[in-house]
Structures are given as C-alpha cells and as structure tokens.
Symmetry: C2
Subunit: 394 residues, 2 copies
C-alpha cells in the first residue's frame, strides 16, 4: 500500500511540476510560442508538450491565439499566450490612497479603482470596510468575469501573518486586517497580507507573472508619507527572518535629528518622506511632486531637496555597504523627484560605498505607477498559480 501511495504522490507531483514548467515557459517568453516551441524549450517530446499545453488551455491558464501562416512550409502553428481569463486581485491601503486592481495572467491591469484619501489616523475597521466596498463594486463590473486565483493586500507597515502589527503613518497598531477586510469581500475572498514596499519592489523585479524585470539586484526605496523599502537579490525580495526586512525609512541619518513617528530620532523618513520634505520646503502637504520640481529654484525648496538627497545618500550608502547591491530604485514621490535628488545622492553613494571604486552604484527611478503595492500583491497571488497550476486545471 505504502509503495502505491508514494508512487501516486510522485506522479501527481511530476504532473504538477511539468505543468508548471510549461506554464512558466510560455509566461517568460518574449512573444507567443507554438506547441513545438514549448517542446523545444522544455526539452520534452512534442506529444508530451502538446498534452500539457492542452491541459493548461482547458484550465484557462493558457490561451490559444489565431493561427498564423507558418514562416516556411508546414501546418500553421497555434500561438500560445498566458491566460486572459484568470487573474488575481491586488489591494492596497496607504496613508494617501485606497486601491483595488485586477491583473490577468499576462500581467495586464484589466480593472482598477484607485482613490485618494487622507487615512492618517483613520479607523482601521472603517477604512478596510471602505476598501471592501470599492472592491465589491469593481468585481461587479467586467473584471468579475475573470476567475480569481487569489488576492493580496499591501499595507505600509510590519505584518505578521494576517495581522498588521504597526503602520506608523496610518497610526494603526495590532489590526486583524485580513479578518476585517474579508468580512466585506465577496465570495469568501481572503487576501494574503504583505508589506507595501516588499510588494511594490516586485513590480520592478517582475515585468509580468513569471517574467524577469529589468533589474534583479537592487534596493527599492518607496517614497510615501513615510519611506518603505525592500532589498531584491537575484530577483527575490529579501524578507528577513520574520518578514520585517526593508525598513530603510528608519535607518538613522543623524542621532540628534528630529523625532520620528516610530519613537526614534533622525530617521531617514524625517528628511525624505513626503510630509517631511514638503514641510521643510514650506509647501502644503498636498503639493504634487511635479510642483516641487518646478519650484526647485526657490531657496527653501532647494534646501529641502538638498537635505533629502543628503539623508538618502548617508542612509542608503550604509544599506549598500551591508547588502552589496549595485542599484537603488526610487519609487513613489521619490521617483518623481529623482532628477533634482540624483546629483547629490549619486555623489554621496560614490563616496560612502566602500565598493564604489569598482562598481559605482546606479540610481534609477520607476515611473510612478500609483499603488504599485496593489500590483505587487496581485503578482504575488499569481505566483501561486505559476507554482502550482495543477490546482487550476480540470
């Protein structure tokens, strides 16, 4: 008996890993593949590849496009693409916005609702109910026709399983976020909770589900009201021992500096966080980054940008010395401010990073996708499909 069961388990695992290999191969390709391409790229026979593809097509994980005339003689091949009828839901609460976004397996946002909101000091239960309401409305539309493979929720703080431990800029502590949200979502959806910056960093490391992004090793710095971050090594987000890694906003720039919401002093976000930077520049809180750039010649604004670039340089040089990453990727308002920040930031990284003489750190900015955390949460949920597609085929 035992032997039979073990063999059964092994066969099921083999089928699952073969399906996963074929699915990842199609997702990672630059364009549509034929069944013959899949066979060649996975090193299997055409018959095996065709059988696996058929299973994935039946489950909606792969779509067949229109047959194209072959480049040379032979039968026309059917192009294969990642499924457009299966997707995942990504949700986000930030101090300045609420977001719900549905991505399909091709990584396209097929529906979204992003809404500005001032959620500093908000009530967690009411805020999550509001997010549940707008998500329900979104799924009542055309996006509801997609098969949802999962959902994720990005919050700007430390998370532990389904609980948010602390989000200083929301003023939230010990919030059973998944329970509170799930009560307001349709169809028993239960999102997986993650840290906003960890999830946003995925949108740089992953161009689409299963597809490597432009950078594989970098420090992502998420400019929000505060500052979050994530280190990505070999395309994988470094989560640390309990999932709390990446809090670059609370690296100390000057122990005698201003008091931070976290209770410490001189944290990076007290110089380069959105609110801190606008306050130092003498501009109102809602001022968009583009206006800050436009006013970069004003003395106060110039001084605030210099202080932010200096603080970023000192703090991020320390992080690069410890983590050995070749690039810093600025996100959120810091991406929009990259041009005025870059000269001083690059100069400091070049001077303070021990290895800079051999490899000078690069500063990149990712164009401002609002609510990148929501996109990352959906990408993570889609990873579940790529890792174990057998659950989705008939």
């Amino acid at each position: 008996m035992r032997t039979t069961e073990q063999t059964g388990a092994r066969q099921s695992t083999l089928r699952s890993s073969n399906l996963a290999l074929v699915l990842r191969t199609v997702c990672a390709a630059d364009g549509p593949l034929s069944r013959a391409d899949v066979a060649a790229r996975t090193g299997t026979t055409r018959a095996t590849a065709a059988r696996l593809v058929d299973e994935l097509v039946a489950g909606g994980l792969l779509d067949e496009g229109e047959r194209l005339a072959p480049p040379r003689r032979g039968r026309p091949a059917t192009p294969l693409l990642p499924g457009a009828r299966i997707g995942a839901l990504g949700l986000q609460v930030d101090a300045g916005l609420l977001a719900a976004r549905v991505l399909d397996l091709r990584g396209r946002a097929v529906a979204e609702h992003v809404e500005d909101a001032d959620l500093v000091g908000s009530d967690p239960a009411r805020t999550l109910a509001r997010l549940g309401g707008l998500t329900t409305a979104l799924l009542d539309g055309p996006a509801g026709e997609l098969r949802l493979a999962g959902a994720g929720l990005a919050l700007p703080g430390l998370v532990d399983g389904e609980v948010l431990l602390r989000a200083p800029n929301l003023g939230w502590s010990d919030v059973p976020a998944v329970d509170l949200l799930a009560a307001h979502l349709p169809g028993g959806l239960r999102p997986v909770l993650g840290n906003e910056a960890d999830l946003a960093a995925r949108t740089v490391a992953e161009a689409a589900p299963g597809r490597p992004g432009p950078l594989r090793d970098f420090l992502y710095v998420s400019g929000q009201i505060g500052i979050g971050g994530a280190a990505v090594l070999g395309g994988r987000v470094l989560t640390g021992s309990a999932g709390w890694a990446g809090e670059v906003g609370h690296v100390c720039v000057d122990p005698d500096g201003p008091t931070c919401r976290c209770g410490s002093t001189g944290c990076l976000e007290q110089y380069a966080g959105r609110h801190a930077l606008l306050a130092a520049a003498g501009l109102p809180r809602g001022t968009p980054p583009a206006e800050v750039v436009a006013r970069a010649g004003d003395a106060d604004v110039q001084r605030a940008l210099d202080a932010a670039a200096g603080a970023l340089g000192v703090a991020l040089a320390g992080v690069l010395n410890v983590l050995d990453l070749p690039a810093v990727v600025l996100g959120g308002h810091l991406a929009a401010l990259a041009e005025p920040l870059r000269p001083r930031l690059e100069e400091l990284l070049g001077r303070r990073v021990l290895s800079a003489r051999w490899r000078r750190p690069v500063v990149e900015a990712v164009p401002g996708t609002p609510a990148a955390g929501a996109t990352g949460a959906a990408l993570r949920a889609l990873d579940g499909v790529l890792d174990d597609p057998v659950r989705w085929v008939p």
Copy 2:
C-alpha cells in the same frame, strides 16, 4: 549514444548525492551513528547504507570507532564518526595577526600557528610570503599527515575572485593575494580567498562541518582594528551581489563625525573599532580588552565605551531594520567588551528597531577564538568535501 551518456551522468550524480547525504547525516549527528542508524535517518535500505558507508570509510571521510556492546541483544554495532585523517587549511592575515590552522572533518583544530604582528601598512608580498613560510612549517609537523581537501584565506577587506581589492586597515589595494601566497605554499596548494568577517561568521552558524551552530539568523560584528561584519540568514552568510556584503564598519553614525580610512566620515569603526576606542579612552594601542574592562570606571574609558555602545546602537539598529535579524553577535575585541557595551547597546536596539516591540533584539558575544577567520576559511574548504564527497572516495 547520448542516452547512455546521460544515464551515466545521472548515475554518477545519484551516487555522489547519496554519498553526500550519508556523510552529512553522520556529520550532523550528536554522537556516533551505526550503519543501521544511517539507514534509518536517510530512508534507505540497510544494504545501500552499508555500501555507501563502506565507500566513505575507504576514502577516509568516515572513521569506524571501537565496537560497543549493544544496548539490547544483537550484534555489536560499529560507531561511525567524521574522518579524522582528512582536513582543510585555514589561513588569515589581519592588521594584528597572521594565522594558519588545520581543521579535521570533525571540526577540531589539529594544528595551528597564530602569531601577533603589526601589519598596518605592511608590504603585501612580504606579508603573504611570511604566512606561506609559517604554513609550510606547520605542515611539516604532524598536521602534514592529514589529507588536505582544500585551503582558504581570510582577509579583512573586499575580495574579487583571487584578488584583494581593498583592505583599508592593512592599507592594501589591488593585491593578487592568492598568486602571491600560493608561490610560498607546498604541494601546489591554492587557497580560496574570502572576506574575514564572512568566514568568521561561519564559526557561529556552523558548530562543525555539516553541523548547525547555536544561531541561524544573526548579524555578526567582527571587532578588529576596524569593524567587519556578516549577516547570516537561515545559517547562510548573505554575500550580496558581488560578495561584498556585510561592511557594517562603514555604516554612518554621524555624517559630521571623524574621517575614516575609507575616505568617508562618521563610520561606525571610527567609534567602536579597536584603535579608535583605545584612542578615545586615552590608552595605548596594544592595550588588551580585559584591561579596558578592568578600567571601565575611569572617566575617559567610560566615555569611550559609551560612545562605542552608542555608535553600535545607532548603526546596528539601522542594519536590523533593513535585514530583520533577531540577534547581534559580537566577535573579536567587541566580544571581550560585551559586558560594558551591552546595556546601552540593547537599550538603543530596543528603542530604534521598529519590530523590537514584538521581538527585542538579543546581543550575544562569541568567546574570543583568535583568528576565527582562519577557522571559517577551513570550514568553507571542508564544505567542498561535504558537497561532493565522490571526489575523495577511491
């Protein structure tokens, strides 16, 4: 033809991975195992386990101890232990010492020579020739009877392949260290080059070859003339994208602080490195840590220790915020100074680490093995035996 070759390759790989599994099982055990124990722990038949054990015994990778009377009836079992006639050589140059140490596969130092030396600003070629000379003398003794599976060299700086790029406290730059040393080593030995702190951290993560140490997730802080470091996650040293990770000594504590040998300002090692601490305490450079502890009541010494603890608290809190590690392990002179440093350091970590409310960081000290880098270099060379024992069996 291709099929036969592939099958051949697979069988060889299978044999290698089976031998590795058996060897690691014996190395990881708390005490000697019998062939039956090995069969049970690896999930193979007794016949297969016995055959693999015999191959490893023939290669000297396992030793058979004296047969013990069995606890119950049955034949006496032969106890198996990691081989004592196979070992590796670990070498180290630090600003204050030269070291050569031979470890056997049980992790015991079977021979060593550690010699104090002032190597600040020394000539790399002459220093490495001197290390080669003392290594040759060491291997002319009883340690020369061991079969050497490899060698490693620990240097306190950034390494790139076989070249030392920069070791600020030795004053060395762009040194072809392995070439220079190998010319003075017997029998074509060619050590693998590594960073001192990365290798020393292994001695905490690994109790002996193949055997987990007491901690699996920690930040190792190596107190030398300067300060090195290594982050260990899940028992593995985080090397970063080019092997340059862990430079905690150059995390900035105060941008307006003193100039560092690296060219930057306010680096941690300018407060807590051995030379900096002694200078601040008004003590001569050679003062041993025990004397610093004994004089902790003197005002100057107290002030220097406070400044060092404060700097460690600010810098390491930043590192823990980014890496999410539950423990800091102090090594070198910082281990010897742990008692006076700990109260202020723990207080600062508790206040400045964002997750400390849920898991307060712990500060440990590893008793001062002189030249832990040499031990780590030998452990890494022995890893090669554990990973691929097939090369060592007849």
